[in-house]
Subunit: 377 residues, 2 copies
């Protein structure tokens, strides 16, 4: 427990809220949550489920109707055949990551994690008794870990490798070939490969791809929160190798009993063409915002070393601005009323000279934010 | 992980579902979930929240509006003063139990648990690196642990005592005096007292009482699932000593991000007089069902050694029926189409000669179930 650090982004959010209480107008580029409310068809399905009084527990693995629709989605969008039996619905991707860690890790096991990366992953590994081992990446390599690097980091204690694609905070997207090579390497070393696709679907410059295409030995984690815009509903899923289906179900029966029922009913329409049309529009808006920031940030002294191909984050280098990331974030929050996240939450080596910007506000506000930042840096 | 046993009740549920698929009519006395759908005012509040597109994350601790209402509830119903700052909203009571275990237990710590009890509690302790130590109780003592027994079980490694009141599966309710004595004992030994009030409010023969009345050093866990009838919404809470507020918040930020948002909005009306009136009617129905079973089960050979004062369970002794609990449950399921839970899930010492009946079906069905059981035992 004591090893779990609070998120620095939470400190920024706390201070931003304080300033707002004082009447200041704050623009939020620190929050990893789409600004859009959940798409109308999903909300309507939630209301229908409530009107039908669908308020009881479901199976711990989630309703088969939803698992079947997730399976169809993999078939339609990725031409990947995923047996619904291998799909378990979870309380967000957080719930999925925890259960996968519990099912894989024995005390003392090592788990390889990409740095920069989502800070909670280290804690999920620790809580399961494992040791997180960081794979440092750099902008010069597109923030990607390489097979050589993974190979060198594997020890007799290594149990798994966790890769997020797209990555938070760098927006890095692994290509099919890169993940294929890594999957083969993991198989050779008999270590598990966990691919975190929480930002799956939010991809801008290349064809969409899912690690489910790589076969049935890869753990693939996803969420209804980001692309599907269902953050507050707390719903995600994991696709696991067949022999992990029962252990994961057993864990779910103990730890969660049932994922939220109304959310499950609502999520059933998330894959409908009418919903996807809305989500794709939103994806285009995210892309426009990203492109705007890619163009303007460098003029402000924020260096974008590697183009982020997915998610809704930019991990910018700030050496030119001559402040540490924490100082800079505080300065911009206090003076410009714009909240960013210091690199501290995401990286060991790139903490001090990087900040994360989340483009989760609309274009008009984003332009204001850029103007305000320009005035104080 | 390997130490986590699947619930035997799940096996019963699986077999019951199989029989239903074959066209058999099965009466379910095995499920720990009220048969009632969520009360209308709560559903209506959920629909309003959805219509207002309240679909974003909340604070990890839950919305202050809900925490304030929980605090008011303690004041009004129990005359207990609970600062909303000490209340954290969780993903069900399961989420609360896990986080309390994480925040308290260091590897090797012992946690005292009452036997018979809720089987997951042992797993929550184990997952946090602790060792569950059972306090065996017996019907002759009303299934209650005593201060003397607790005192004798405490070692230098003991970190906490967890007591559920009302208890699952025995329905035992601790009196204010008994919990006061135990709280004093725990304080003297500097071990934490966790009182699980998941079935709080579902009390039939004595005045309602909450461990929150005992002061601010007790962890009190509750849920919107049982008395408030919100199982599928996945919402509970924990009241903690002040110094655990930040550690619990930090855990929630890492593990859950946000409890389900719509559920939080809906739960805000759970304490309104109109809702409580419905819940109290339901409580009376549970009491009528309990009283019916208390009267009829003994004629069938199910001995009720100690009157269950709360929850919606009867833990019955079955020696007279000359089968092990597992055999008996299978026999009654196959022959009478009534699903029960063998004692195996709840107790070490009372596994073979006890079964649990959940009176979570309406009176007409309950009478049918009793007739059907009578015909095969």
């Amino acid at each position: 427990m004591a090893q779990i650090e609070p998120f620095h982004v939470m400190e920024m959010m706390r201070r931003a809220a304080e300033l707002e209480t004082q009447g200041r107008d704050i623009l939020h580029l620190e929050v990893g949550e789409p600004d859009f409310a959940t798409a109308e068809p999903i909300i309507a399905a939630g209301i229908s489920a409530l009107q039908a009084a669908e308020t009881h527990y479901t199976l711990a693995r989630g309703r088969i109707q939803l698992r079947q629709k997730i399976s169809n989605w993999y078939q339609q969008r990725y031409h990947a055949s995923v047996d619904p039996e291998r799909i378990q619905v979870t309380v967000g991707a957080s719930g999925a990551l925890q259960m996968v860690c519990w099912s894989l890790i024995n005390p003392g096991d090592e788990v390889l994690l990409v740095d920069p990366g989502y800070p909670c992953n280290q804690n999920f590994v620790r809580l399961a008794g494992g040791t997180p081992v960081l794979l440092p990446t750099s902008a010069s390599n597109g923030w990607k870990c390489t097979p050589e690097q993974i190979d060198a980091a594997i020890t007799s204690k290594t149990r798994a490798l966790l890769i997020a694609s797209p990555n938070n905070p760098t927006g890095t997207v692994m290509s099919r070939q890169q993940l294929t090579d890594i999957a083969r390497l993991c198989e050779g070393h008999k270590i598990a490969l966990i691919v975190d696709e929480i930002y799956g679907g939010l991809i801008y410059d290349q064809a969409d791809f899912s690690a489910c295409e790589l076969g049935s030995e890869v753990f693939v984690i996803n969420s209804f929160s980001k692309y599907f815009g269902m953050t507050g509903w707390r719903l995600g899923w994991v696709v696991s190798p067949e022999r992990f289906v029962r252990p994961l179900e057993k864990l779910a029966q103990n730890l969660v009993i049932s994922p939220p029922t109304i959310s499950q009913f609502a999520a059933e329409v998330a894959f409908e063409p009418a919903t996807i049309a809305i989500l794709e529009q939103r994806r285009q808006q995210f892309q426009q915002r990203r492109d705007y920031l890619l163009k303007t940030l460098p003029n402000l002294g924020f260096k974008i070393e590697s183009c982020p191909g997915g998610a809704f984050y930019i991990f910018a280098e700030i050496t030119q601005l001559q402040r540490s990331s924490n100082d800079l974030c505080q300065h911009i929050l206090e003076q410009a009323g714009v909240a960013l996240t210091p690199g501290l939450d995401f990286s060991r080596d790139h903490a001090d000279n990087h900040v994360r910007l989340a483009y989760t506000i609309d274009m008009a506000d984003l332009k204001t934010a850029v103007q305000r930042i320009a005035a104080v840096v």
